[in-house]
Structures are given as C-alpha cells and as structure tokens.
Point group: C3
Chain length 261, copies 3
Amino acid sequence: MFEARLVQGSLMKKFMEAIKDLVKEANWDCTGTGISLQAMDTSHVSLVSLLLRSDGFDPYRCDRNISLGINMESMAKIMKCASNDDVITIRSEDHPDNVTFVFESPNQEKVCDYEMKLMDIDSEHLGIPDTEYDAIISMPASEFQRICRDLSNIGDSVKITCNKDGVQFSAQGDTGIGKIALKQNAVIDKEDGQVSIELNDPVSLTFALRYLTFFTKATPLASTVTLSVSAKNPVAVEYRVDDIGYIRYYLAPKIEEEEEN
Amino acid sequence: MFEARLVQGSLMKKFMEAIKDLVKEANWDCTGTGISLQAMDTSHVSLVSLLLRSDGFDPYRCDRNISLGINMESMAKIMKCASNDDVITIRSEDHPDNVTFVFESPNQEKVCDYEMKLMDIDSEHLGIPDTEYDAIISMPASEFQRICRDLSNIGDSVKITCNKDGVQFSAQGDTGIGKIALKQNAVIDKEDGQVSIELNDPVSLTFALRYLTFFTKATPLASTVTLSVSAKNPVAVEYRVDDIGYIRYYLAPKIEEEEEN
Amino acid sequence: MFEARLVQGSLMKKFMEAIKDLVKEANWDCTGTGISLQAMDTSHVSLVSLLLRSDGFDPYRCDRNISLGINMESMAKIMKCASNDDVITIRSEDHPDNVTFVFESPNQEKVCDYEMKLMDIDSEHLGIPDTEYDAIISMPASEFQRICRDLSNIGDSVKITCNKDGVQFSAQGDTGIGKIALKQNAVIDKEDGQVSIELNDPVSLTFALRYLTFFTKATPLASTVTLSVSAKNPVAVEYRVDDIGYIRYYLAPKIEEEEEN
C-alpha cells in the first residue's frame, strides 16, 4: 500500500500548476524516501525534475516501490477541486490500476474522494550529473518571472550575462532591444530577499524565453529561484520548497549563431 | 399604473443574473401581492419561478394586474447600467407598450431612466403541486456552487445520495470518479451556516450538472440554498431572499439507465 | 541631446494607454518647453493632443528641437515593462535614429534599458483655434467613463443636452431608450468632486460613443474630465494632469439627420 498525506495540500496544487503545461504524462515514482518525477516536456527540449521527500508528509507509507503513470491534464483537473486549505492524501494499492486523491476540509466535515485511472508510461530515468557551474544566481522568484514576461514582449530569446557586478538579461526583436540589469546584492523586494551571485567564471548564454516562461509557473512555490549556469551544460532553474523538496527545470542554451537572427 | 420601488436595487441586478442565461423571454406578472415570473429554460428542461412580494418594495402600487413581456437579454443590458447602491423603480401604464426602469443614486443627484419595449409572450402558468419530499437538504449556497463547479470537471451528471449521516455528490467521466461527502450538521463555513438534512426516505438521484450550474448563478442572492429531493418529482433548488421573496428552480432527475453511460 | 526624466513614471504608462488604441503612429515633438504630440486617430475622425511641460520633468534637457516618430504599439509594449513605481527617462541624440527608455527602480538596483527604432512620419500640425464654447461641463472622470460604457449597451451615439439645471446624456437602440441626468453641482462621488456647468447657451449635440469610449482610456490620468461643447465646433474632452500637462481629444458632432436613424 502507498499512502502520503500532505497537510498543506495547496502545495500539491501548486506543483501541478508548475508542470501541467510542460508535461503531458509522467510517472510519479514512489519509494521509501519520497515521491519523484522526471520528464521531458512534450517537445523534448526541456526537462523537469520534482522531488517530494517522505518527511514532508505525515504519515507517509510506501510498502513497495511503485510508479504511478499519470495523465497530467486529468490530475490537474482533479487538483483544481481541492480547496487551498484542504489536507490532501494520495493513496494506491501495491500493484495499482488507480490512484485515489482524498481532500479533507480542515474540520473534516467535507471529504472529497477522486479516483483516477493510471496509465503505462515508458520512461527512462536520465542521470543528471553533478556539474560545476560557472555562475549560480539567486534572485526573487517573482522578479525572474517579471523579467521573463517583460522580455517576451521584446524577443524570443534572452541572453543572460553574468559577471562580478551583477547579472544582465537582454532580448531583441522588431520592437527594439531591451536590457535589464540587476546589481549583485540588489534588494529588489524586501520580502523576497536579494540578488546574489556565486561566480566562478563570467558567462553569457542565450535561452528560449518560451521555456523559461513555462518554468516560472513554479513561482508561487518559492520566494527565491536559483539559476545555475555554465557554458557546457543546460541551465538548472530551481525552486526549493521548504520542508518538502524542490522542482528543477533544465534547458540547454541556444548556440551563438541562432542568437544573432 | 404600476410602480414598484426597490431601495436595495442591487437585488434586482442579482435576480437578473440568476435567470438571464436560462430564460430568453418571460412574462413578469404584476399583481397587488407582488411580482412573479415563471418560465421554462430555452431547451424546456428546467423551470424557474421567481417571487418578489409587494411588501419588499416601498412604495408598491399596482392598480390593475398586468403582465410585462420582457426580453431578458435587453433587460439584463439595462440592469448592468444600474450601480450597486442605486434605488431601482419599475414603472408602467395599465395597458403598457413599454416599461421604464429608473435608477437613482443614493443622493438623487444622478437619475437614469431606461425605457424598454414590451413583447407579447404566450405562456401558461404551470401549477406546481405541493409535494412531500424524501429529503430536504439545506447547505451554504457557495458550497453548492463549488461542488457543481468541481464535479463539472469530472462528468456531466451528479448523483445526489442522501441518508441520515449526510449527503454525497458524485460524478464520473473519462478523468475518473469524484465523490464529495458532507456530514449532517457540518459547519463548512462559519458565516454561511451549516449543512442540515430533513430526511423522510433515503434517496439517490442523478441530475444534469449543466442545469444545476445555471441555477447556482443565484448564489449571490442568498447565503443558503435548499435542495428538496424526491424520487417521483423534480428537485426544487431554492434561494430565499430576506424580506422580499425567492427564486426556485425545478429539474427532473435523469432516469437510471442514462446515468450508467 | 534630448533627455527627460519623469520621477512618477507611471504617468507615462497611463499616457500611453490613453492614446495607443486610437493612434497607430505619431511624432513626439520635443522642444525647450516640453513634449507635445498631435495626431488623428487611424480612421481620421478624432484628434488627440498631448502636452507634457518641461517643468514636469527633472531634469529636462533639449539641446535642439527634435521630432521622435514613434510606432505606438511598440512603445506601448515597452511601457508595459516599466513597473508602476519606476522612474522613467526618455533619451535620444540630436539627430536620432533611436530613442531609449530607461526604467529605474526606486532604489536604483534594477535598471532596464529599452532602445527603439524611430520612424519617419509625415504630419502637419493642425492649428486648433481658441473657441468660445456654448457649455463647459466638468465632471468626475470615472462618472463620464461609466456613462459612456452604460449607454454603449443601448446605442451607438449619445446626445448630450446641457442647460442651466444640469446635463443629460441619452442614447437609443433596439433595446430601448436610456437617459442619464446629472444635476448642476451634483456631488457624484465625494473624492472625485462634483458636476459643474459653465453655460453660455443651451446645447444639444450628438456624438459617436465609439470615440468617446476611446477617450475615456485617459480616466486613470485625472479625477476630473472637462467637456467643452459648442454647436459649431468639435467637442474638446480634456484630462488635466497635475504638474505636467494634459491630454485632449476632439470629436465633431454628428449631424442631426444621422441621429434620428
């Protein structure tokens, strides 16, 4: 039997919002240590990786490792039926055909029970090697979302340039050229903390805004986002969620020629 | 002459919102005791019945019984022109071709005057017999609206099952199966009161969510909705509005075979 | 060199919203006294005239009169990238091919820099003669917006009738006839002041609601709007913006025959 009860059920709703537009179907792998998901987006350009540690649930029980093959659109529809203050329990048998989501109101006087058919999904777990990054940029998640949204008005790609003074995001298109510069240690927003850059090597890399914008759907999950950038590897865009885990997105940089078009 | 002045004009705006998507045209029957309306929806599946008692108006004057044949879309457009704190007066002659709606701002320094052509509408007043119901369920109107909205994500129909412990709403479709259980006396929301069930006989009946969802357009009118259910009669969905009257909707249950598809 | 720094940058965002749907491209004429713009709407029916006085900027520097030929859609896209509390600087060379917009966050730790190509736009500056108006109506801008919106539900044109007692706005169409009357000195809304009418001659003139509705896009700029009406001239609809200037729209009345259709 598998059972995982999440008191702060709204987190599960937010995790769904953070992946449903990117991934159509995926396996949720449940083991003794927690629930993880790894999937390419539908156009096989970016990768999303999710971890929910078992100690974030109460209780958490997993008698046998199982893989729940889930259609994201269906699960998203069901998650929309949970209220923000509901407690959410995920439950299945050891050899499941179905998964059950239970939503309980805080006073337990309303109980919703949704049963969903599972799918067989082929997937190979990609090993993501630990990498040395040239620069690790931490910044308020809402600011990163705003920058992606603003520069999407200007062009299709964003060039991220990082040196010891700060980070610059730039885009160009028919409208013109836009450049947004954030200083190292800039306090953009008192509540969401500041910009901080851990720099090994100055970098300047270009990424498709379309995918970064998908990634920013995770903004409600965390106050801070971390961009780990290196010339030789995909950027890792990470949102850490207190007490339970993270969602990480990976996207390869565009090659330089493309950027000039 | 007919004249009815409603100090809390926003109620008239809300009554319009509660019927305009269901009914295209209808007679507003004005008599000494008040204004009433009874009409089938455009596909002749459900019935809506409205009563505004004369003592809810100040003043109310009706020299001669009249029937105002009204195009709902036109009246809804006009009602949108009233501000929420306007006083609304409805006025017509004894043999009217037109009806006039007057909207006065609280300080009477802005006066809006809308004149609308009337229509000839054939209608027979259906007698709705007083019935013994198997179960009468009272619950917060916003909770009923939420349940109809959530289960519309899952299927086309809702099965309402009621026994002495509580009431269950369930739906099924391609996504899966959803069940929402409310306990007898459950306090869903402190302000909107609790769930209470008056039970003569346990019932389990299926209704088209499409129509129930139309009915929940009346939610802003009342904090509580009452579902009067019986195996042999249409369900009556009633929103009582303090000091003036009610809006009631009637919908026949689906027959059992349909429910299995 | 031209440079104009506007501390309350949100004003520039609002000015853009007030013209972008009406005018496709226009010259921003920059001189020692300030920035002005005059343009016909795309269908050459109405005229918009904008003035931003140099003393509303700090600093303001204009070494040589220049005309910045700007595509409004592009500039609007860029202005959307400014936050409401940003300081906005407009900058160009003396013989510019480009204009630069700089948005600085209040603490200057985020700096956005947008460069836009300029266009060659033919335009003749129309002299708008000083006119004697029959009536000058001042009223809360939000109230005028509301009236235009409400009467657009009823008809295509509004007849504005003004005498010493007040002003009446009326429209008619398939739905019926709507009339909105405001008394002289009416206090519609405590914060936005009152209705006041300076009357030389009673007037009754009809205007296309489509254009008046475009003009009300300027509502966020000012609490009061002034309608200067005369039988022989276009109506001037003016929004004065404290400490910097105004936006004015001109629209010719419809001739009487049209009004009857």
